[in-house]
């Protein structure tokens, strides 16, 4: 069976600086893959490439076996790829509810709507009429995830959910993930918090300086090998 997402030997550059080196990533339908790694490993670059914000200079990104070459970011949402970007990136002048509604701009049908998102994040429901700029970091992250869900994605990209948040808040946010995957949504999560990533993912892939240094099932990963891969020291 064709995997949902195939990132096939991509090179990605920021100007003259190469961020990804022939990177391969495969995500099966219904799977949750966590991509972990230290800063500068290329995790966010990978997500931006899948979302269509960055274009690979070599290699290909395929969804259901169909190449996404030349498909701009705004069209990929309609194809079923939605992202909660690094730093949340809510629309500050819009209310929480308007932010969520903008997420459904592509009009993709599916299980998610305002009511379901409010059910998933009750705190967001209480804040619905507030400007998004006036929320705490954890609330903003919940809105950002909800906004991505509003697009009814087949593939949900979560970039650094834990960034700048207290561990208890991060745990609350990740507690919502099983409800999301129960809808059949495939999740590709990028995370610096290794323990959180291992807790939610089926499989884990560790990047270092734009290359894969370790991958395997999250349940059986050897922590010593992972730690060595994460920091780039030979075990």
């Amino acid at each position: 069976m064709t995997p949902l997402l195939e990132v096939d030997a991509v090179d990605v550059f920021y100007g003259d600086v190469q961020a990804l080196f022939g990177l391969d990533v495969t995500v099966a339908q219904g799977e949750t893959l966590a991509v972990i790694g230290a800063n500068g490993g290329g995790k966010s670059t990978l997500l931006k490439t899948v979302a269509g914000v960055l274009r690979p200079s070599r290699g290909d990104v395929r969804l259901h076996g169909t190449s996404l070459r030349g498909v701009p970011a705004h069209r990929r949402v309609g194809r079923g790829i939605a992202m909660s970007p690094e730093g949340r990136r809510l629309f500050p002048s819009l209310t929480v509810e308007e932010n969520l509604l903008v997420g459904s701009h592509s009009g993709r049908p599916g299980p998610w709507g305002l009511a379901r998102v409010y059910e998933l994040f009750p705190l967001v429901s209480e804040r619905r009429a507030r400007p998004a700029a006036n929320l705490s970091g954890g609330e903003q992250q919940a809105v950002a995830i909800g906004r991505a869900l509003m697009a009814n994605p087949e593939l949900l990209l979560l970039d650094e959910v834990s960034l700048g948040l207290a561990p208890v808040v991060v745990a609350q946010l990740y507690a919502a993930l099983p409800t999301i995957t129960a809808q059949g949504t495939t999740v590709l999560v990028v995370e610096q918090d290794v323990h959180q990533a291992l807790a939610v993912a089926d499989r884990v892939q560790c990047l270092l300086e734009g290359r894969t240094v370790l991958e395997g099932p999250a349940a059986s990963v050897d922590m010593a090998a992972l730690s060595a891969a994460y920091f780039g020291v030979s075990a």
């Binding site: 629309f91 002048s93 700029a133």
Partner: protein, 289 residues
Amino acid sequence: MSWVNAVVQGILLGGLYALVAAGLSLVFGVMRIVNLAHGVLAVLAAFGAYVLGDTLGLHPFLALLVVVPVMAAVGYGLQRGLLNRALGGGELAPLLVTFGLAIVLQNALLEAFSADSRRLDVGALGTASIRLGDGLAVGVFPLLAAVVGVLVIAAIGQFLARTATGRAMRATSDDRDAAALMGIDGRHLYAVATAIALATVAIAGVFLGARSTFDPSAGGVTLIFAFEAVVIGGLGSLWGTLLGGVVLGVAQALGAAVDPAYGVLAGHVVFLLVLATRPRGLLPSAVTA
């Protein structure tokens, strides 16, 4: 009573300025472009209505049925073909492109229509007036222009607040890259905003052309008044633009009541005072870019 009269006439004039400035305010609010061709585009629309009147005998208000959609289409094409490309070239590029466009358009109009002054004839409507009391009367036409100005501003405001496209426009104004991740095509949305702006400028141009004479060089003054209304009200704020137009109109009318030569000057002085004391305008938009 002459002071009351001046204020009333000034408010009506302000409504017309707001009508002219609405498109400028929308374009700035959505994509941070100051469209220096705005005034000339109003004059272009007035000439469009003039040609339709001259050849087909259409009343200027009927001509709007043609001029408004044509100008909207011009706006869409202008944004897709020219301004979206200029946006990629930094802050100064759109300013220079619209400045160049203004010069090209003005000279093209001069070639086509010569420097003669024209006026759109709205018939008896142009001279009809309503008596409000002793020595106080308002013209039906200026009243109509002001009402249309308020309606256009209110309509744009409702469009931005309540429709999905308007919401997407505000989101794109906040963060274009994040909006793309929501499936919003910024280039298309910007073109829709410019199309709406030029549709309103078409209405404004016809009212300006019927209120007083115009010629190809009239775009400069039109742009300055519109720009002053936008800045007095607060950049990017639609209701601020209406307030700015009224402040400018009243200042000009009061100045003219003192001495007819002081009208325009008084408007500029008020503009400079607002700029010096409240540089963000009287009703600054809540979120700064």
